[in-house]
Symmetry: C2
Subunit: 246 residues, 2 copies
């Protein structure tokens, strides 16, 4: 059962609804609340946490659209059946997700340069053709096997110092955040293709080998594009999982 002694920290900076959300999430992950089980009613939770019912609802709301809980009007709030792949809609980087699965990951920088944007890159980044962009091209290995060629373009004007950063060990999105920009959304376009000569050589496969080709545009929360990337993944070593909602 749920601990009755759950006490929120009302004085410090963390909003109560976030503490509630975290508490519930932990109780689900920790099996104190199991799939299918009905949560205490909102009134009851409000009393237990010592907050108002609206605050409880606010805490529950995020877990609902994360898919961890679901409501039945007039009946109650329940723990959803587990999805192993629940979180994959969220933006996570290649490095994060591979490392989370305990895989050995390595990144080699193939190119890091400033150059004028070509037509397609300029279009995606909403720049004029010829405006300067930073190009960061990398080859990524999992367990020693080359899996992905990454060719990223970033507006130079926005990150003039970017090439001074540790591109080998830090993820680009971390670097953006360190400049105060928060990545909010990414659009990915996926196709199946054959490996061309360069790609085949880098990924250590034959020409014509199946490649999962991906173009990605990354946006900030106000809709400004900050990165456009071409991405070539070895078909036999790379599987992309996507969760769609509603």
């Amino acid at each position: 059962m749920m601990s009755n002694s759950t006490i929120l920290n009302k004085s410090e900076g963390i909003p109560l609804y976030i503490q509630i959300r975290r508490t519930l999430r932990e109780e689900i992950n920790g099996q104190m609340l199991v799939p299918g089980q009905k949560l205490p009613s909102e009134d009851e939770l409000a009393a237990r946490f010592g907050v108002s019912r609206m605050t409880v609802r606010q805490g529950i709301a995020d877990l609902i659209d994360e898919g961890l809980l679901y409501r039945r009007h007039g009946v109650g709030t329940f723990v959803a059946l587990p999805h192993l792949e629940r979180d994959h809609t969220r933006l996570t980087s290649f490095l994060e997700s591979a490392r989370q699965e305990g895989l050995e990951v390595a990144v080699h920088v193939l190119a890091a340069e400033v150059l004028p944007a070509k037509r397609k890159v300029a279009l995606e980044l909403k720049l004029e053709e010829g405006e300067l962009v930073i190009r960061v091209k990398t080859l990524r290995f999992i367990s020693g096997v080359p899996v992905t060629v990454h060719d990223a373009y970033i507006p130079y004007r926005q990150f003039p110092q970017l090439l001074q950063d540790d591109l080998q060990n830090r993820h680009l999105w971390d670097i953006y955040e360190s400049y105060g920009f928060r990545v909010k959304r990414a659009v990915q376009r996926l196709e199946a293709r054959e490996a061309d000569e360069e790609c085949a050589a880098l990924l250590e496969v034959e020409e014509g080998f199946p490649i999962l080709y991906k173009e990605r545009t990354v946006y900030l929360d106000n809709g400004t594009p900050v990165e456009f990337t071409y991405c070539y993944n070895r078909g036999d070593r790379y599987r992309l999982t996507v969760v769609l909602n509603r």
Copy 2:
């Protein structure tokens, strides 16, 4: 500018926050509010709509995580720059999206049968191996070109009448809804592969041609799986777009 005479229908069944959401969405789509523009403050909107501020916030919230608006703490709420591909995270079927783009779409049913579930299908649908499932295999054409082979498995117990439905013209998800089940979430796994013999023949390409291979599991809102599909897409005619958030 925003119309001052916006009047909500307080007596009828539609919640105020939904009416507010709809009003704002229309004003954005109709260019009365343009990208980058600041909305009136929440207090102002509350006064204008004749509701409390919390209700305005509730109406705005959905538009925020749809990406149509964004907030800057202490500054205001703004219309986000347009994304052409804004809605692609939402679950839309192949038929819907192709038709929306004005393409000619056709579906041929290759197989419709009841059979015992194999291991992988049973696993994905959370059934015992050997339990009955319905198999619906289709070939889909866009503008007369075969683009996708779809091989879907549905628990027989849940939809015993399914094969009586018009599989050629109705989408499976519509059929589920007509039985009172609402599709809530889908997990897709994507790889690049080569076409095997059967697939090549159906899609009218050579063996070895690049194929975007997709496995998909579809869930209801309580987490019950209702459909597992193998999906083979011609690499040169099929491009999948995915939007990831946060």
